[in-house]
Symmetry: none
């Protein structure tokens, strides 16, 4: 029985490797082979959390409620559809949501929690980095946790304590301890050979002692020792700092190996994003991050200014998501209308391909990210227009793009930009 | 680095196993297991390059413009949709486009350029063959290329020079040198152990000497020596034939290993195609190629004549593609109408399943193959009809087949023909 089980498993593995070459895993093997350079421009507008839900029976979504004459005009000229960020029913975080839109399979490229937290505070994570989330916590005299968040200490105290922890010295490893807010911070260990197969030290319960960092595989043994040394010294450094007299760490993750957009698509890509997380995600796939200002108008102006410098422009707009997270339906409607108002200026650049979509839905009804497909439109002189004349969830359902995995959006953009050779003769 | 690579490979394998559970890889493993024989007939009509684009804002496509009463009648009775030949945004050549329609994943089965060129001149490529495209070129007295196409010599000269090259003798290898047109020809090396990991000899530039054929892997070393011997002799044979005094070779490819339709589907399949390329592609998947005449009417008559001999009939119609490639919108419209006119005769055979589709789109606007999904209809007594009553790109968007990968079309045909057992109990 054992033998048979092994044999079957093996054949599955072999089959899947072939399948990978043939289907989506290796979308980039295909784009690398077919990519073609030309002078066309592609603009990707990501209205974060764009998709929504009605809040009452027979009601409208935020997008359906908003007055969006310019987006509707684009819908008339373009082709529309609904993108599925990861898989049906799967709600993505910002990382997977954006990776999909950049054409990277979000199930293949897993960005760890530590790295995402570092990206979110604009820390420039690099290829030798092992990043992890930290919490200040409170220990009693027996070394047991009484508060996993150390009473949510003030931001200022978090900054001061991170400064103290930064002084810790580790042999052959450079240490960064950066405050996030309240009890939260990020630790980055920079050095050779730091694997991330290390268990969390947060026991996720009070009345228990912080756990030791354990290596889950032999290659992580060295990193586990480095982390243990850090924790030992941290305990010493913080012992007089009650209630924040210790730390826990979770989500050890290395900087992911992701091929750059220039390499896989032949695109010079620029990111025009205000918030650190999205700038960091763009940097992760090799985009140049521009100082794009603070407002949508400034972002659009920045794109116009840098028009000659890139082939691909990523414009990120945060407020369609944050208003959804706040459960503020009418404010999300207003923010969608604000986005609509800059479309004419954006179109003055006359891109070959303009895409407007979101990285996921954030219905104000749910006050959170959701799995619902995301309204998407693509405008290009060589698109096949559909009958859709309003940019809304309901109308996009009959659009020419259908419902499609988000990871194919970039291939579609390249095709419409004339940037892909024919496959096979 | 080695350790790191191993770790990464491992994680990829783990991911792919997961992926496999959710996708399709072994469609043929499934059809082999489930196939059932009966007396039903399936007819697949491929209108090459069928899909199109409007040439002006709010305009119609070629298919939407054409008067197609018989296809519309089938759309009323049948189920429609849009097929995606390879992946969203990927424009296929004829090879991948047809393999998909025959139920073969076009990314899994890659047909090399040399083999396709051989198929295109009706050369019967076999399992021991290494095929490659050749160009006559002009060398100056220093052996540098002055014209990569030898002034596009006349077809007659190409035939004569290919005859001369055919006389070259190679030990243990049978040689075929077949003219294509002007400076283009095909070389086929037939013999045991000829691998195709050989680099092109065309330097893709003038002022450079032809390159030596290099083996990219140890198993191709023998073939590289055979090719080098051919080239050495070719130089001697052609030295007085200025301007066609040398050749370059590119696209070395072996006859691909593709399982036959009889084996994977249990179908006796016949091809009714006029052009060599499509006859060759059909032969590649094990179809019997019939002498089907030159016109659509003759092709339909041939199908009627051979009705008892096959379970599956592939009818290929070229002119919807060639008129699109010519950028001739109105001629493509006429050719679609010509196809429509033979539908009643074709339906007299009363097939259990009739499918009309294309291998890709060829919009006359673009004068080339494109990535746009292809209108598809399937008629069968047991199909679930949709509301679509016109066979057009726009209407097919709301069809019951949805937008689907072309490789699933054959499984659908088998199902409607009652030729697949239930999967699982």
């Amino acid at each position: 029985m054992v033998h048979r089980y092994i044999a079957i498993s093996f054949s599955v593995i072999v089959l899947t490797i072939k399948e990978e070459m043939v289907t989506d895993m290796d979308l980039h093997t295909l784009t690398r082979k077919l990519k073609r350079k030309n002078d066309t421009k592609i603009v990707l507008v990501v209205a974060d959390g764009l998709g929504g839900l009605p809040v009452e029976p027979n009601g409208k979504t935020e997008l359906e409620t908003a007055a969006t004459p310019h987006l509707d005009d684009l819908a008339c000229r373009g082709v529309t559809g609904l993108s599925i960020p990861v898989l049906p029913g799967i709600t993505p975080g910002s990382g997977p949501g954006h990776l999909g839109l950049f054409g990277y399979d979000p199930l293949q490229y897993d960005i760890g929690r530590g790295v995402l937290e570092a990206l979110g505070i604009d820390f420039q994570v690099g290829p030798e980095d092992l990043a992890v989330r930290g919490n200040f916590c409170t220990l009693d005299q027996d070394g047991l946790i009484t508060d996993r968040r150390a009473g949510r200490i003030a931001n200022e105290l978090c900054v001061r304590l991170c400064g103290k922890l930064s002084q810790i010295e580790l042999r052959d490893v450079r240490l960064f301890v950066e405050p996030v807010r309240e009890h939260r911070f990020v630790v980055v260990f920079r050095g050779e050979g730091l694997s991330d197969g290390i268990s969390d030290t947060d026991p996720q319960a009070t009345g228990a002692a912080p756990l030791s960092p354990q290596a889950g595989d032999p290659s992580s043994q060295y990193a586990a020792e480095v982390v243990a040394s850090f924790l030992q010294q941290a305990e010493e450094v913080l012992k007089e700092e009650y209630p924040a007299n210790m730390v826990t760490l979770r989500g050890f993750s290395r900087y992911p190996e992701i091929p750059e957009m220039s390499e896989v698509y032949g695109l010079r890509s620029g990111a025009f994003a205000v918030y650190p997380m999205y700038r960091g995600l763009a940097r992760l796939v090799g985009m140049t991050v521009e100082e794009a200002g603070k407002t949508l108008t400034e972002q659009v102006q920045s794109i116009q200014t840098r028009w000659d410098d890139y082939d691909f422009f990523f414009l990120h707009y945060k407020y369609t998501d944050s208003t959804g997270e706040d459960g503020n339906f009418s404010e999300k409607v207003s923010r969608i209308e604000e986005l609509d108002s800059v479309i004419p200026d954006l179109m003055k650049t006359d891109p070959q391909v303009l895409i407007v979509t979101g990285d996921h839905s954030t219905p104000s009804l749910l006050r959170s990210h959701s799995w619902h497909p995301v309204p998407t439109l693509l405008v290009s002189p060589n698109c096949r227009p559909d009958q859709v004349s309003r940019f809304e969830e309901a109308t996009c359902l009959s659009g020419g793009l259908g419902q499609f995995p988000a990871k194919y959006l970039l291939t579609l953009a390249l095709a419409h930009a004339g940037r892909l050779e024919k496959y096979g003769a």
